[in-house]
């Protein structure tokens, strides 16, 4: 390589410090800035084109971000930090997680390294004569950057292997993304090559710190005679072109998710799992006396969605994580959350021809939206923070408003109106059994500490009677001051809301809140997780505050306080616990039921593989208890099979719907009677030798 002896000696003798672009004409330095500006302009243009295709204007996006900033960006920053920089959800898949970490982390470090050079050379050094890329900091930085270059190469290799060899069904090997990968690989490889060439041309005493470049230098030493300044400069030009090709062009490829996903995470960050946004507040709407014409709670076509939801759909990467965890999909129902979002996204970006709603145009089938169990597994898994269950409920609302639902669903809605329960049994029979057992109503025990919300299942379903009976016996034993609403209790409307009758749900919520307030109720205990999320979270979003606890939480605290004795022995074999979706994933109650299970069964407790946040649905969620959809297998059968595989002879649950579904599955389990299924309260009451109150 053509280099004089002068600078060689000079560099070798000095202490470690950064040397700015040796051997390159000064004009190159300015060319980088020109290229950077061109590249940013191209990227901005591509970004604008990308979001506008989804019907979102950059102004709306900017407004949305300003809104987050003005409300206090702490939460959004924390979520974005954990999900983007911490790659929390992405890491759940080992291969893809490592690949993402290598590419994202390495690219980030290399970009930072380049920015530091620019800052030193063109800002602190130029204006203040201050340099910081010196000494030990510089050496460590160089070593880290070499590691990043290797990491990037490894990550790109993994990505290429995945797209070209593993080929998951959801990933296509589109040419654009291959160009992006190639640009990254060339950038990293030429970076190391440049280091090596520089080391040979301008040796420094600390070159072993850039260990990867040093190894390349050793490898290319035999070629030294054929290397010249031209080759060095050409390599540098290739390096810069690769870097800017990626930076400017990534948004034109499937890698656009590096911008869209963090933005969507920021926009969706403040939402609780499973929470449905209010399409309107009926109380306010009625109070304002406004015209109801044109008021709608759902959407007929994705183009009607507000910009945040359109942006959300557009940010789907098609990774398929939702599909993998979806219980409806596992049971062979006609639903894949991935395909659903992709279909809506596709229709949003290029609407298909034809008139009518998305069902009439064949974008989706109605059975698809009715297959959803609202279990929230998909949304919890989605690294892009897409809310599939909410989107599905919004399509159901449209179907209900159009009157386009079958008789089974229409019947549930009619029965809710007439009988105040989805089962269609007379409202006056709700309290009959408990009245006979002398359970006090709130009129008989005004000012009771807890209102016990019994719920429809335990008021009417013979099997679920036992759960209320066990809870009441435990509350009585512990001396808890409680009362029930009695005949004036009625369905809280969870199934009505999931079926899509939003206005009916809100109307109901106002009436029930009024009943509760008229009795001065503030603290409520319920054994039904559906009631728990509805009364605790959904009513709160409508401005009605009640303190609601699940029976597992109350009973567990009674055990901890010593107000309930701990059972002595357990003969039920291996006990496992099925996390009801509404209690676990959607309410975050995981430990209290486990504490209870451990009190009952001690060492005999075994966890299911899909437990806690990863729990699998029983098949009743999202109102599916009340109607049928085409399927190859039953969701409850699959879940029971998981419990059987764990060797459980007793399956505990904490939801009357899960109880009914799993017990039904156990009754019809292949190979005869499956494991026993019972509520945690029933198991505890039994272990304490208590008779269930008002047992049939």
């Amino acid at each position: 390589m053509a280099a004089s002896a002068g600078p060689r000696a000079l560099l070798a003798a000095s202490s470690p410090h950064y040397v700015y672009m040796p051997g390159l004409p000064g004009a190159f330095h300015w060319l980088i800035y020109v290229a950077l500006i061109v590249c940013l302009v191209v990227a901005a243009w591509l970004f604008n084109r990308r979001v506008r295709a989804a019907g979102v204007s950059p102004a709306e996006l900017a407004h949305g971000l300003r809104e987050i900033a003005s409300k206090g960006p702490g939460e959004a920053l924390a979520v974005v930090g954990a999900e983007v920089f911490g790659q929390r959800r992405v890491r759940r898949r080992p291969y893809a997680g490592l690949m993402h970490l290598l590419i994202f982390g390495s690219y980030g470090m290399l970009t930072l390294g380049t920015v530091l050079i620019a800052v030193q050379h063109d800002f602190t050094g130029r204006f203040f004569g201050v340099t910081f890329l010196n000494g030990n900091f510089y050496l460590v930085e160089k070593a880290l950057l070499d590691t990043a270059a290797l990491g990037l190469l490894a990550g790109v290799a993994m990505a290429a292997w995945r797209r070209l060899a593993i080929r998951p069904v959801t990933l296509g090997a589109r040419p654009t993304v291959v160009v992006a990968y190639a640009a990254l690989a060339v950038m990293a490889a030429t970076g190391l090559l440049l280091e090596a060439m520089r080391e040979l041309a301008y040796p420094v005493s600390w070159s072993h710190w850039t260990y990867a470049g040093h190894l390349v230098a050793l490898a290319i030493t035999p070629l030294v005679g054929r290397l010249n300044l031209g080759a060095y400069q050409a390599t540098w030009v290739v390096h810069v072109i690769a870097a800017f090709t990626f930076m400017g062009g990534a948004l034109a490829t499937a890698l656009d998710h590096v911008v869209l996903v963090p933005l969507n995470i920021a926009l969706q960050s403040s939402r609780a799992p499973g929470e449905l946004r209010l399409p309107f507040n009926l109380a306010e709407l009625l109070e304002s006396g406004g015209d109801l014409e044109g008021v709608s709670s759902g959407f007929a076509n994705p183009s009607e969605l507000d910009w945040k939801r359109r942006f959300m759909l557009a940010s789907c990467v098609n990774c398929g994580r939702c599909e993998e965890v979806c219980p409806a999909n596992a049971a062979g129902r006609p639903l894949s959350p991935r395909k659903l979002v992709q279909a809506l996204k596709g229709d949003l970006l290029s609407p298909s021809d034809g008139a009518g709603d998305l069902f009439a145009r064949g974008v989706l089938d109605t059975d698809t939206v009715w297959s959803c169990l609202s279990c929230g597994a998909c949304a919890r898994e989605c690294p892009a923070f897409i809310d599939q269950p909410e989107t599905i409920v919004e399509m159901r609302r449209h179907l209900v408003e159009e009157g386009n639902v079958d008789e089974a669903k229409a019947l549930v809605l009619a029965q809710l109106e007439r009988n105040q329960n989805p089962l269609g049994l007379p409202s006056y029979q709700r309290f009959a059994r408990l009245a006979e057992a002398g359970v006090p109503t709130i009129e008989e025990n005004p000012g009771a500490e807890y209102l016990y919300w019994v719920g429809c299942m335990s008021s009417y379903d013979q099997r679920a009677w036992g759960v209320a009976g066990a809870v009441i016996s435990l509350l009585r034993l512990a001396g808890v001051d409680f009362a029930v609403l009695g005949e004036s209790e009625r369905c809280l409307g969870e199934c009505q809301r999931k079926l899509g009758d939003e206005a009916g749900f809100q109307m109901r919520s106002m009436e029930i809140a009024e009943t509760l307030r008229s009795h001065g109720v503030t603290k409520i205990v319920t054994h039904c997780p559906h009631c728990l999320v509805t009364l605790g979270r959904d009513y709160r979003s409508l401005g009605m505050e009640f303190e609601v606890v699940h029976h597992s939480e109350l009973v567990q605290s009674l055990l901890a306080q010593g107000r309930l004795p701990t059972p002595k022995s357990w003969e039920g074999g291996k006990l496992t616990y099925h996390d009801p979706c509404n209690l676990g994933r959607l309410s975050g109650v995981f430990d209290a039921p486990r504490g209870l299970a451990a009190s009952v069964a001690g060492e005999s407790f075994v966890e299911l593989e899909r437990s806690r946040e990863k729990s699998f649905c029983c098949g009743a969620g999202g109102s599916n208890y009340f109607y049928k959809v085409p399927a190859q297998e039953s969701v409850s059968g699959l879940r029971l099979g998981q419990a059987q595989a764990a060797g459980a002879s007793t399956v505990a649950t904490a939801c009357p719907f899960c109880l009914s579904m799993l017990e039904d599955a156990a009754r019809t389990a292949p190979g005869g009677q499956g494991p026993r299924v019972a509520d945690l309260a029933e198991l505890l009451a039994e272990a304490l030798g208590l008779e269930a109150t008002a047992a049939p």
Binding site: L292, E401, E402, L425, A503
Partner: protein, 258 residues
């Protein structure tokens, strides 16, 4: 084409019960559109989509106005609700008289559709009486309708025989629940119906003499309602399947079933 649909405000029968003292407790029961009438409303709404005008006629208490909104949500142009103190004691004859007055005032109509029976009275008389008063043919029990310009083809199911009747319009047809699947009416759909679409009229406005509708002037009156205890019971048989089967057979033979 102009269509009149009869839609009745009725208490929900699943919520009606007898008090411990044997009184019929109707008042607290939720009310609704008579289920049979929903099928007539659905059919009329479908005909309206191809250009028919649909008017709903009803006899009921003031709170029936809310039920009329629900009936209108199926898709009808307006509703006429005849009310007054006399409604509480009205018999099918009186109802038909008032409905005929509405039909004449709002008419002429090409087709009158009604549910076969109402869930509260279960007389299945009003549509036939109305046809007599209007002097039109009456076909009851429609399971399918083919409405033409001058006539209507009515399919009826009688036992396991299906017959098809063609009648000239105007005509009164009462429909069964096999006719169609009424659409679900969402809460929002009902709320969106403006109250202005419900016209409330009294006997005077219909040109009828209130004296003829006084309790004493009516030909029938409901004199008593009594609960009837039906004997139902169950018995669980336990043991091995073969034993249970033998025991069950013996019991059924004992009852004379086998």
């Amino acid at each position: 084409m102009r269509i009149l649909v009869l839609a009745k405000h009725v208490p929900d029968t699943t919520e009606i019960r007898f008090s411990p003292t044997g009184e019929l407790m109707v008042r607290q029961a939720p009310t609704k559109v008579n289920d049979y009438d929903r099928h007539a409303l659905e059919e009329a709404s479908r005909l309206r989509e191809s250009g028919a005008e649909v008017v709903i006629a009803s006899v009921g208490p003031p709170e029936a106005a809310k039920t009329m909104k629900e009936a209108l949500a199926y898709g009808a142009d307006r509703a006429v609700l005849a009310g007054g103190a006399w409604v509480a004691d009205a018999d099918p004859e009186a109802m038909a008289e008032v409905l005929a007055a509405i039909a004449r005032r709002q008419g002429p109509f090409d087709l009158v559709l009604a549910g076969d029976v109402s869930e509260d009275g279960y007389n299945a008389l009003v549509p036939g009486l109305l046809a007599a008063k209007l002097g039109t043919p009456y076909v009851r029990g429609a399971t399918a309708l083919g409405v033409g310009a001058a006539s209507v083809k009515v399919t009826r199911l009688i036992g396991d025989v299906e017959e098809e009747v063609e009648v000239a319009l105007p005509a009164v047809i009462s429909v069964t629940r096999l006719l169609n699947s009424p659409r679900v009416i969402s809460t929002m759909a009902v709320m969106k119906v403006p109250m202005s679409k419900v016209e409330t009229v009294d006997l005077g406005e219909l040109g009828l003499d209130p004296a003829a509708f006084a309790p004493g002037a009516l030909s029938t009156r409901l004199s008593a309602v009594r609960p009837v205890q039906s004997k139902r019971g169950n018995e669980m048989l336990r043991g091995e399947p073969a034993e249970i089967a033998a025991e069950l057979a013996a019991k059924l033979r004992g009852m004379g079933v086998l």
